[in-house]
Subunit: 380 residues, 2 copies
């Protein structure tokens, strides 16, 4: 074999060894320190059965206990109403752009979608492959913001729409919905990938929620679906079994071998959230981090700009920019030399972005703000 072992990534050390480094990536994102510290033993240490967690059969008692624990812990965190089911499925959120119409259209051919930015448009693009899509809301003119949801704001949802889809937190655009629309009898379906578990959530407002794991749940390659019982009855029998929410619900997410190690890690993250005080505590910490960063940006006299309209600013994907794209690039490159990584904005949106999910400590935000202040002093 001519290939050498894969080289370790070449990483510049941060200038002071004592100074920690932070990844502000939008995802895969940072895991909680405490989870990372336990993960090696939790997944890879062999037990008296000659197997580590990652090696145990998904049909065995040990994995089934972990799966039940993950499901029950998540239900407790969400205060889940009794008529909802939790599914753990391999793969990310994007597959659900297709699985939603495949599972939920039922006798209808129509689905309604709100356009609030890059990811909702990706969902719309995939939705068109399966359904007649009605785009029922678009972003307002002016600063990036979520569509208007006030009474009389003109949401015209077709009565035959099987569901209405929206993206409450637009990861790329840094836009969060301040309020949800009234969709009447049409079930609200939401891609909550980047805001799931970042704050309390009234599940009963939704027919279905889905989230990729790689922000606040765990590793990439897992997604969580929370679905109201009655929507499971719409599934067509010819749907591929692993892609059927109804079949997955009936078989406790084990239609086929599930991503067992990813679910084990998710269980550790759910435990960590519970130990820290649940979703209210996550929301308080996330609000404090966002206030610190947006507050500094707003007080920078225009050196830094947060372009999103204030009432729609995402608390977890903080978008900002400097005077021009050249300055943005200089900023991101200098930040890396200070141990602050992955601050470039989404390629389709540009500028800069700091993702501050649950696992980002305030010390990371402090380090970023300190660098931003220093950069401004030198360049302002």
């Amino acid at each position: 074999m001519a290939l050498a072992a894969v080289p370790a990534p070449v990483l510049r050390p941060s200038p002071a060894a004592a100074e920690p480094a932070y990844s502000f990536a939008a995802g895969p994102a940072r895991l909680p320190d405490a989870v990372l510290a336990r993960a090696g033993e939790a997944l890879f240490a062999r037990g008296g059965d000659g197997a580590a967690a990652i090696e145990r059969p998904f049909t065995g008692d040990a994995f089934r206990a972990t799966l039940a624990h993950a499901r029950e812990r998540l239900a407790a965190l969400l205060a889940l109403p009794a008529n909802y089911r939790i599914l753990f499925m391999a793969g990310g959120a994007m597959q659900h752009f297709s699985l939603l119409p495949m599972n939920l259209l039922g006798a209808s051919r129509r689905a309604a979608y709100a356009d609030s930015g890059y990811w909702s448009r990706r969902a719309i693009d995939e939705g068109w492959k399966q359904a007649a899509v009605s785009v029922v809301a678009t972003p307002p003119a002016g600063a990036p913001a979520a569509p208007d949801v006030s009474p009389g704001s003109g949401w015209d949802i077709p009565a035959d729409a099987a569901y209405c889809h929206l993206t409450p937190n637009e990861t790329a655009d840094g836009v969060a919905w301040a309020a949800l629309p009234d969709t009447g009898a049409v079930p609200l379906v939401a891609d909550v990938t980047s805001c799931f578990l970042a704050a309390p959530l009234d599940v009963s407002r939704f027919g279905l929620l889905y989230a990729g794991a790689q922000k606040n749940i765990g590793p990439a390659g897992l997604s969580v679906v929370v679905v109201r019982d009655d929507l499971l009855e719409r599934a067509r029998p010819e749907l591929p079994a692993p892609f059927s929410y109804a079949v997955q619900a009936a078989q406790d997410s084990c239609v086929t071998t599930p991503p067992t190690a990813a679910i084990q890690l998710a269980a550790l993250v759910f435990d960590w959230i519970a130990e820290r005080g649940g979703l209210p505590a996550m929301a308080a910490a996330n609000a404090a981090k966002a206030a610190r960063l947006y507050g500094f940006i707003d007080a920078s006299g225009g050196f830094y700009t947060a372009p999103v309209r204030r009432d729609c600013r995402s608390p977890v994907n903080v978008r900002f920019h400097l005077a021009d794209s050249v300055q943005d690039a200089v900023f991101a490159a200098e930040a890396e030399r200070r141990g602050l990584f992955h601050l470039r904005g989404h390629p389709r949106v540009g500028g800069l972005r700091a993702s501050l999910y649950n696992a980002m400590p305030m010390t990371g935000v402090d380090a970023l703000v300190d660098f931003m202040a220093d950069f401004m002093r030198r360049r302002g």
Copy 2:
């Protein structure tokens, strides 16, 4: 939160602490000791960029280098012809039961399938949802065995079949195909989940191969597809992007966030195989393990029976049984007390089964044979 942390699985310690325990599960299966020893640091240790491998963005240089390494290493192990592509996809093998017809039917509506046991029948069941299925071969009468492939054995593959599907190693039935059929111009497509990387394989005989990772590749939640270029041209544009082999090939398996940690682990396994001498070395070790176990069974004077016809015995899923199902259950329970786990056969097949994938050392087979000899002395 009322829930306590998930309890560690209750495992009886093996009687002598010095005696190692082994899982003979069909999957998720044992990982190589050397991979398990490195995995914690490889995935969970933070680097100078403030991120561990499991936390790094899939768009970054570090993950892209790992992905390229995994792809190139696997291509080298397979001696992959230049006109084949390797895809890493989230989820297991079963999704491909549906993705195959979705991707490969092209203008045809027909696909041919060989029935050789439980898993090929599962593929057929899902195939029917998308295609007109022609079952072109069935198991022979008598002992479990693969369909006859000798010239004149009556394979009647419709000329308009988009592909012919078979399962060269039936994990549940313990049946391996001794030879492949001649399918003429119809591309041969194979579910190689339980035999992939266990021995050299002439990829050029196949149009497409797919395998779930949880046997010889790595953790559950990842699958590998090896596909000939020309078959990618059949994909319909309305296919969901993450499910399109063509789109995944064009975007190097990164249409959506891939299961980055699982791919990282797979790269470690591929390295381990290469370091041990590649697929010829795996085949030699697997043949020695199988010979030891089947040899003992055959020499047991009928106390143990290996029911599969000799020329079709799987070298990696060794099926055997005792006089009756009660004895099988006693055997499996006593084996656990000796540190030998997951020896029950697949529920649909019954009996006993020892899975001996690449990572099972000969010491595990020795421990099993020692126990079998002891059990026979006491019960025979």
